[in-house]
């Protein structure tokens, strides 16, 4: 397995060495450590080889980790690269600012090897997911008849390059970082394409991604609220994370999405593809007393709610919420 190329930024020399030693123990040897944001930006600009991920200390003098995260995200090549913030327990209030600046995840000091291992496994999964998407894009550009790399029907995949589209894993992670009040303010809504499997069989993988990308765009246009984020979870299931009060009429939303999809009916027909059949689920939210397991299952419940559908799922949905 290719070693992840990581840039670690921390102004404390002792912590840098602890981090580097622990990363080496976990099998990550391609780590560059720098003591400041200025040094990090210099390394990034002067290095022809891209980094696979970043570990940024939040509290640093002059330019802090949150601002550094923002500046890295502003570079087009690093728009989706995993950025993990490193923070002390006293700095957790800054984690939200970091996520707003584009951070993917965080872990706390003092370093816990198990936590670091888990965070880096997520980083690797995100890197692999992005690489799959890039491989497919390369094949599209090469005008191959059929892409050589395979995507799996049930695998999460970023289907469109938009600032509201996130990796499914990143969305799951983000929920686990929210405090109870913040979580209480969020709701997850599932959108499922009930005939996605049929489309997957009828087209090549590039065509299937285009199919999903079009659906994602229609759904995004129907969502009149902001901000929201969307992820494709696999199997034609999308999940949207938004404010708890944003969608008060899921039936109306479903009708709007279906109308938007119907406007593309002739196009789908010309491509030999079925017009997507969309079901929207009832918004699912966590209670203020939610335990970690319930938070982890929030997105799954949103998917299930969509799969059951609004008409059939009303009474069942009440039990889950």
């Amino acid at each position: 397995m290719k070693d992840l190329r990581i840039l670690a930024v921390d102004d404390d020399r002792a912590f840098q060495m602890v981090l580097q030693g622990t990363l080496a123990q976990l099998g990550y040897h391609d780590v560059t450590s720098v003591p400041s944001a200025a040094a990090a930006l210099k390394v990034i600009r002067n290095n022809p080889q891209l980094f696979d991920g970043f570990l940024l200390d939040i509290e640093m003098p002059d330019v802090d980790g949150v601002e550094l995260c923002r500046r890295i995200r502003a570079m087009s090549v690093y728009r989706k690269t995993p950025i993990i913030m490193v923070t002390s327990l006293a700095d957790k209030q800054y984690v939200d600012s970091a996520f707003a600046a584009g951070a993917t995840d965080y872990f706390t000091k003092p370093l816990d090897e198990i936590e670091l291992r888990a965070r880096l496994q997520v980083m690797r999964q995100l890197v692999d997911e992005r690489q799959r998407a890039l491989d497919l894009l390369d094949e599209l550009k090469s005008w191959s008849d059929l892409p050589k790399s395979k995507i799996k029907f049930d695998a999460p995949l970023s289907v469109i390059s938009a600032n509201w589209m996130v990796e499914y894993l990143a969305m799951q992670n983000h929920l686990l970082t929210l405090n109870r009040l913040q979580l209480f303010g969020h709701a997850a809504i599932g959108f499922t394409v009930t005939n996605a499997a049929e489309a997957f069989r009828l087209t090549d993988h590039v065509g299937y991604i285009d199919y999903l990308a079009n659906i994602a765009t229609v759904v995004a246009e129907s969502l009149k609220t902001s901000p929201f984020s969307m992820a494709h979870a696999g199997q034609g299931d999308f999940v949207v994370l938004t404010n708890r009060t944003a969608v008060s009429d899921p039936k109306g939303l479903q009708d709007e999405v279906r109308a938007g999809i119907a406007s593309y009916q002739k196009l789908y027909s010309s491509l030999g593809l079925p017009t997507p059949m969309i079901q929207v689920g009832r918004p699912v939210s966590a209670s203020i007393f939610s335990q970690r397991a319930e938070i982890s299952s929030l997105l799954d419940r949103a998917r299930m709610s969509a799969q059951i559908g609004l008409e059939e799922g009303f009474s069942a949905q009440k039990q889950w919420n």
Partner: protein
């Protein structure tokens, strides 16, 4: 006091962290001295916010590694000092708990001196 000789790693700390441990020990003398200077400045009535902010920053660095390097109580103590200082500074009343905090800082310095 000579800190140049390698100090033995505490039990349970992996060998790969030997170098990091030594750097931490080497930094400790300067940090003790700096905290003492800053504490004196506060006692003299000099710029409290600036001095206490810097003490919090030093405590933050100590808290970030002490536990991993085999000194969890020092880490906890440093974190408590950091959190309380930051809370008082953020509240606009940096000397609100100075009497009790200066005692906690003294205890932290004593613990750090025991490492040398």
């Amino acid at each position: 006091m000579d800190t140049s000789a390698a100090r033995k790693l505490p039990a349970g700390v992996p060998d790969v962290l030997q170098a990091a441990h030594q750097v931490f020990i080497n930094l400790t003398t300067d940090r003790i001295l700096r905290i003492e200077v800053l504490t004196q400045a506060v006692h003299k009535g000099e710029d409290a916010v600036s001095a206490l902010t810097e003490i919090a920053q030093i405590a933050h660095k100590i808290a970030g590694v002490a536990g991993t390097l085999g000194y969890p109580q020092i880490g906890d103590s440093a974190r408590a000092v950091e959190q309380k200082l930051k809370a008082d500074i953020a509240a606009g009343d940096p000397l609100r708990n100075w009497d009790s905090l200066s005692t906690e800082i003294e205890d932290l310095l004593d613990a750090l001196e025991d490492l040398l």
